[in-house]
Amino acid sequence: MKEIIAIIRPKKVGPTRNALEQLGFPSMTATAVTGRGLQRGIAGEVNMDCPPELLAPNKPGGMKYIPKRLLSIVVQSSDVETVVKTIIEVNQTGQIGDGKIFICPLDNAVRVRTDERGESAVL
């Protein structure tokens, strides 16, 4: 079992969900998060035109943290490659801010309804 943590653009959640559903991975958990990457947020992109004397001195404009969605998907170890490939395919726009995917090991899983443990608790 592996947990795939993908941090992606909010508007790409729908297409990602649909693509994964087609492949047979309908389950996921989504969280609204904010974050930044190596580019330190968006510098200057959402600034309005305004006289420089109205701006706070020595303060960079732009967005420090960018809204993202964090998807957490638990799959069998053999399916990791497929899911990662699909997420990359759907989310790739070629522009900075497409997101990151992390693969984390998972020791156990429990289905609350039936008390199944391990591999069978994951879909």
């Binding site: 974050g35 990457g37 943290y65 993202k68 964090l70 990662v84 790739q92 997101g99 990151k100 693969i103």
Partner: protein, 105 residues
Amino acid sequence: MKMIRAVLRPETAEGVAEALANAGFVSMTQVHVFGRGKQKGIIVGTVRYEELPKTMILMVVDDKSVDDVIDLIKDRAYTGNFGDGKIFVSPVEAAYTVRTGAKGL
């Protein structure tokens, strides 16, 4: 690679993020969460607050940077009172950048 999850006071999180960025650890994700620790929340007068607002900072770093990051967080998030937060470190097997599809941080 390791994933570092630090649950901190919301008011210290900004300072921590700044210190991390200055030290070269720019990439991070912030989540606003609610939680409690061993003290089961706090009691103010007659009211018990079971869950307190916290900010979780989530970042993935190379194995060799883990201690540096933990020291930086500890340094900036410390007040000495209950509720300063916790830091969790867990393994990450692989990381991908979606834009390029490349493996690695």
